[in-house]
């Protein structure tokens, strides 16, 4: 089992995300995360998919994506030369006993306190998924009230782009 990140350019039209996700269900592909957003050209959206699987599954995902009419481009991003980021917002119980520890951890992880109330503290953390995982681990005993993560967005280092395919 390896981890893969696949970037996909799709038409920015209603229903395209459903076409992509329905194909995953139908073909029995399991994915870890999927994010989608418009790019600089509003005609397209970029979908970033992360998955753990074997090479066969990864290849099948690529070829099956390519068959969808609204999919314009598919690229598997290489693990070593790709920058991956994920954002998390986590809401913690604010008590005299845990406050200092949350703030200290947030500082070490370069997190931001984005909301503070009498009873809660919300922290925003950005980074590679492993960093987010580690932060959650730290927060676990301190009373997590709620959390959400965006899933991975990723871009290749250096001159490589979506368009520089073989």
């Amino acid at each position: 089992m390896s981890k893969y990140v696949i970037a996909v350019y799709v038409d920015n039209k209603p229903g395209v995300l459903t076409r992509v996700s329905s194909m995953f269900t139908r073909r029995g592909f399991n994915i870890d995360t999927l994010t989608v957003g418009e790019i600089e050209n509003p005609a397209y959206s970029r979908i970033t998919i992360s998955l753990s699987g074997d090479e066969y599954t990864k290849n099948q995902i690529v070829v099956q994506l390519n068959k969808l009419h609204n999919v314009q481009m598919v690229k598997v991003l290489s693990d070593e030369s790709t920058v991956k980021r994920e954002l998390m917002i986590i809401k913690m119980k604010n008590t005299p006993n845990n406050r200092a520890e949350i703030m200290a951890a947030a500082e070490v992880y370069k997190g931001k306190i984005i909301d503070y109330s009498v009873s809660t503290i919300s922290v925003e953390v950005t980074g590679e998924p492993v960093k987010i995982d580690a932060f959650i681990e730290l927060m676990m005993p301190l009373g997590i009230l709620e959390m959400c993560r965006t899933g991975i967005v990723a871009i290749e280092r250096g001159a490589e782009t979506m368009f520089s395919q073989e």
Binding site: T18, N66, H69
Partner: protein
């Protein structure tokens, strides 16, 4: 020229070269049918008894003509009745455009009368689909639907049009027939790799599928087999693409394939797959499939390469172009040992068939039925089938000399497909069409007899009646300890009387002589005829690969006592 949405639908169909459509009117396609009313001299509409029949008719029409089949249905139940037909076309890569009406956009999402999300429902069973909410996009969507349906690996596309879009008007300019998307030419290095594998092999088996049928590449395939001294086998979908009289053609391989073809596939050291997809019915156990053999696969659909079977050379792109380039580059070489081997396999097959013929205690064995059909048909006769034992016998025993003469549901295995498909095939080919069906399958959509009678279509329905669901029964006999759960129909249907009630001619036959006579008379009829043929309920389709087994486990003969 300002036209309404429904007029645009009709004009786009005509512009795309459509001459025949199949369908059924209803509330949300009233406007389209109203526009059709004025276009009766330019487009022929065949009204079926049920939307499913219309979908299968569009499918059968597309199979025999190579054109895009078109079906029209209303919203809600009209649209959902198309679903099986669309899925059937998807699995067999049949080009089809399905047009459905929907409730006006203001009522969409409100669970309005006869509203369903048909684009959602058909998402996984179409190549693409459209929900056209803007009249300005209608013509472009329809044209693109045709383009997608016929490009690359063909398939069905659905266009759903709300009623208000059918009523709205917009400027319309007719255009020409849309071109398919251009197909990739395979790189020289890939062709060279395939040529090297062929030159180095000793036992080449050319394995052709639906791609060869839809691109009409039979001649090139035969030329390749001559040049490399190989033999040819086919998938179910490849049937009729190579003439059965061709001496290097061993017929269909796989679960119920010809012994010689399956064994040659197993013994070959090189498999040259052209327009095939290594379906589970063709390979049996994929772990054991053609171990030790090299495999070349040519397909326009890149997703078929390394999907079910890992190959040594995958040539993704225009299969006709690749085949021609391979043909001109490959060494001409005779392979006498292999030639001798596949000729011997043909002899072995004949011996096995003879043995099975001798064992048969039937008064009218199924094989005999097909011999008689072969005698009465000509090279232009279309053979349509339903699904089950009769279908496999048809695949094994019917002789085809010309391409696109076999109309049958391969991938989806749709019982009830046959009569609708035969209607479409007859309308498309203008030739005599023989539907071979069984009492189970025929029971599913026999209402289309009404359609065949209304349009006085020369369709001969050969109904093999054994009173049971024969294929399922065969499995129950062999693998479920003869526990015939719900496969004994025990119906009292009088099929000839039923056919007559619909207005068709009818015969019944229980012996070779009776069937011979009925067939001769039926072939002379101008309209639809039904021949009910009584056959034994315990006839088997042989050979057979057992479930989970591979070609090594092929069952070629069964002693009835053994199954007691």
């Amino acid at each position: 020229m300002k036209l309404s949405g429904s007029q645009i639908v009709i004009e786009c169909l005509i512009e795309q070269g459509v001459t025949d459509v199949f369908g059924y009117p209803g509330g949300q396609v009233l406007n389209i049918y109203d526009a059709l009313y004025n276009a009766g001299d330019r487009i022929n509409h065949v009204l079926t008894a049920h939307e499913q029949g219309a979908a299968h008719a569009a499918d059968g029409y597309a199979r025999v003509t190579g054109k895009v089949g078109v079906v029209i249905a209303t919203s809600g139940p009209g649209a959902t009745n198309l679903v099986t037909g669309i899925a059937n076309a998807m699995l067999d890569s049949v080009p089809m455009v399905a047009i459905t009406g929907n409730v006006p956009t203001s009522l969409v999402g409100k669970d309005s009368f006869q509203e369903v999300d048909i684009t959602g429902i058909t998402l996984p069973i179409t190549k693409h689909n459209y929900f056209v909410k803007d009249i300005n996009e209608l013509a472009a969507c329809l044209r693109e639907a045709f383009k997608i349906a016929k490009s690359g690996r063909p398939g069905p596309v659905l266009v759903d049009i709300p009623k208000d879009v059918q009523i709205a008007t917009v400027e319309f300019e007719p255009e020409g027939v849309v071109e398919s998307f251009p197909e990739k030419k395979v790189k020289d290095s890939k062709i060279a790799e395939a040529v090297r594998l062929i030159n180095e092999c000793e036992k080449p088996y050319i394995y052709v599928g639906g791609g060869v049928m839809s691109r009409n590449l039979g001649e090139d395939v035969m030329a390749l087999s001559e040049k490399i001294d190989g033999c040819i086998g086919c998938t179910f979908m490849g049937l009729s693409s190579i003439p059965d009289s061709y001496e290097r053609f061993l017929g269909m391989q796989g679960m119920h394939g010809h012994y010689a073809s399956s064994m040659a596939n197993k013994n070959a050291d090189l498999i040259i797959g052209i327009g095939i997809r290594f379906s589970d019915r063709a390979t049996g156990n994929t772990q054991k499939y053609s171990k030790g053999a090299k495999i070349i696969q040519l397909d326009v659909d890149g997703a078929e390469i390394n999907k079910n079977i890992m190959v040594d050379a995958g040539l993704i792109g225009d299969i006709g172009d690749s085949l021609k380039r391979i043909l001109s580059a490959v060494e001409e070489k005779s392979r006498p040992l292999w030639h001798e081997e596949f000729e011997k396999l043909k002899e072995d097959e004949k011996k096995i068939e003879k043995l099975n013929d001798e064992k048969s205690t039937s008064i009218l064995p199924p094989k005999k039925v097909f011999e008689i059909i072969n005698k009465h048909k000509d090279e232009n006769t279309v053979i349509a089938t339903d699904v089950g034992q009769h279908q496999m016998w048809a695949a094994q025993y019917t002789d085809f000399e010309k391409n696109r003469k076999f109309v049958s549901s391969g991938g989806l295995g749709t019982m009830g497909y046959g009569l609708g498909a035969a209607i479409g095939a007859q309308v498309g080919s203008h030739n005599k069409t023989i539907l071979v069906t069984g009492d189970g399958s025929f029971g599913m959509n026999l209402n289309e007899l009404a359609t065949a009678v209304t349009y006085n279509l020369p369709i001969v329905v050969v109904l093999l009646n054994n009173g049971v669901l024969g294929m399922v029964r065969q499995w129950q006999t062999l693998f479920y300890g003869k526990r015939y759960s719900n496969t004994v129909l025990g119906r009292k249907t009088n099929f000839p009387l039923l056919a007559e009630a619909f207005g068709a001619a009818a015969y019944s036959a229980a012996t070779v002589e009776e069937f011979e006579k009925a067939m001769a008379e039926a072939m002379k009829c101008e309209g639809p005829v039904l021949i009910e043929v009584a056959i034994e309920k315990d006839e088997f389709v042989l050979p057979m690969l057992p479930p989970g087994g591979s070609i090594e486990d092929i069952i070629v003969t069964i002693d009835k006592e053994e199954t007691q």
